[in-house]
């Protein structure tokens, strides 16, 4: 018998995240090796938001993270032990170690050097030595440098200059200069500017409206006009709105109902939309969205760093964002 989708099934989702580390004999597990580090970060953050941090073994996790250290690349983390260092997995590694209070395991100087080596003359960051560039990698770099307390080593003007180039006539931001506005890129650009205390670069009213327009009649949010709604946009759109303090502009009850309806009530986890297969990515971003909407029983999630608010506050990094007030259950 399935549970109903009218509430968030916290114990079931905690069990789901916990079980992910156990089913390694299927092909999907190996095809997603390039996201392994990120997957652990998504799982851990989801558990922290649900107040079930201890569902995953701390020592094993730290050991895995450290086994992904890529000494040859000069000081970053790969997604998996035999993968090359990448800025996305490096950020995830740092976030995990901070959440587990184990940052002392890392040679911070070398990580900083690795990150800074990826900045391009235009100001954007590459993901790795191969050279894929976009604003997501730029956000990874700025976020990581801030968490490591080394933002002062970044060329801020050059970085902000690239973000400015990605701004479009509709008020949104794209992945690279010239590209269409997209909610995920709006998030990374907005969060980057928040970390750099440069939100004055944004026409906040106009961008807030573009974000509010992402809500469709089902209650869910899409990433671009005329595209399908998807649970992960509950984070990309909402976090940007929280940074701009505009979350109240959309219908939160309808969005909560949409996210809850995408839960797998038998095995746990949340899918991109109702009826689809759950995965850890959408589970994390669905729960993150619910946290920003003040859903009862969840911990506060910092939308700028996408980490537990408590952790960010303790580090003295909190920016002036606002979600909806936490509801009593």
């Amino acid at each position: 018998m399935s549970a109903s989708t009218s509430t968030l099934l916290i114990p079931l989702h905690a069990k789901y995240v916990q079980s992910l580390g156990e089913s390694k004999d299927d092909l999907m597990y190996h095809l997603t090796a390039h996201l392994r580090m990120n997957a652990i970060y998504w799982g851990l953050t989801a558990l922290c938001t649900m107040n079930h941090k201890d569902a995953l073994n701390r020592e094993e996790m730290i050991e895995f993270v450290m086994s992904c250290w890529d000494d040859e690349a000069g000081g970053g983390f790969g997604a998996h032990p035999d993968h090359d260092a990448h800025i996305h997995s490096t950020l995830s590694a740092i976030q995990i170690l901070i959440m587990q209070d184990a940052l002392d395991r890392v040679d911070v100087d070398r990580v900083v050097k690795f990150i800074l080596s990826l900045q391009q003359p235009s100001g954007v960051f590459a993901g790795d030595q191969w050279g894929e560039i976009d604003t997501r990698f730029l956000y990874c770099a700025v976020n990581a440098l801030s968490l490591l307390g080394r933002l002062h080593e970044l060329d801020v003007e050059k970085t902000v200059g690239y973000v400015r180039q990605c701004r479009n006539f509709d008020g949104g931001f794209g992945a690279v200069a010239g590209a269409e506005s997209h909610a995920a890129m709006v998030f990374v650009c907005t969060a980057t500017l928040a970390i750099l205390d440069r939100l004055d670069e944004i026409d906040q009213e106009m961008l807030g409206w573009w974000l509010a327009e992402r809500q469709v009649p089902s209650g869910g949010l899409n990433g671009r006009p005329e595209k399908l709604e998807d649970v992960c946009y509950s984070f990309w759109v909402l976090s940007a709105m929280a940074i701009l303090k505009k979350v109240p502009w959309i219908d939160s009850d309808k969005l909560i109902a949409f996210i809850l309806s995408a839960q797998d009530t038998d095995h746990g986890g949340i899918a991109d939309r109702p009826g689809n297969q759950a995965d850890v990515f959408h589970t994390h971003f669905g729960i993150a969205g619910l946290s920003l909407l003040g859903y009862p029983g969840l911990a506060d999630l910092d939308p700028v760093y996408c980490m537990p608010a408590r952790v960010i506050e303790r580090m003295g990094l909190r920016k002036g964002w606002e979600g909806l007030p936490r509801k009593a259950s």
């Binding site: 580390g21 390694k24 095809l31 590209a179």
Partner: protein
Amino acid sequence: MSAESEDVPLYAERPEWSDVVPVPQYQGVDALAPINYSAEYQDATDYFRGIIRMGETSPRVLKLTRDIINMNPAHYSAWQYRYKTLIAIGADLTEELRQMDDFALTNMKTYQVWHHRRLLLTALRSRDAAAGELAFTARVLAADAKNYHTWSYRQWLLAHFNDEERLWAGERAWVEDLLEKDVRNNSAWHHRFFVVWSSGVREGDEDREAVGRRELAFAKEKIALAPNNPSAWNYLRGVLEHTKTPLSALTTFVQLYTVSSPSIAPEVMDLDNPVPTEGAQLPCVNALEFQADIYEQEGGTQITKAVEIWKSLANEYDTMRKKYWEYRIKEGLQTTHT
């Protein structure tokens, strides 16, 4: 997963690979230790790690990386090493592009596919190749007209090679064609803005005032076709903003879309103000918003009219964003009092 079936031997069984020592996948941490997936995938990636360890760049590496990419299109180390090998052995890069065409079509959502082509084009430095790529991306976009990576790649090609005659010349007509097929395609609207306004002045577009008039007429015509289309309204506003034209210049047009029932088509067609297509759902939210913005900009007593519209949006036409409209009402009233 792999296209070839069981009759293809594993790398471990091929004599021509016997000089490579396969490196098994890391299995250090127990709780996270894998195995039991496709034997082909494991075999190929073991030999790939062996090749990396040797630092070999040779034609057989191209076969190996292609096998891995076929099984796992997102394997970025395989892509990276493949590119390095192509350059090292002086391979024919145009041939590589053709080899990858079908693969790119079936794996268009994979970022690496497009980054690989971008690296190849950068190395080729050929406008012929760039023109060929425009044709290729057109094929891909015909299959999925909103594919983000393909669009960014096309925009990169145009800006990077920046050839007016060979690349830019057909661009506006091509994107117009896409909008003809789907007037709600936001990617195509964005691209039109990119071509006309934000990447230099196209040949024949030197008279910017004329271009502004042409683009407003274009957007209005598309709005008439499908009034509830935020992409077209955004474009319209984008043009006004870019050409520093006040919103009020479009009052007559907008009012055709703020009424609940369509006005009877005038006997003489007003080309500047096309009427909504028959059966369109009116009033149109974007038009109401536009009209309220006009009133707000005019200020003074006009604010009352703006507030009326915002109230109707909050309570009737766009209730999902009620809080937003209430915010506009509050802000609007505050400016009149200060």
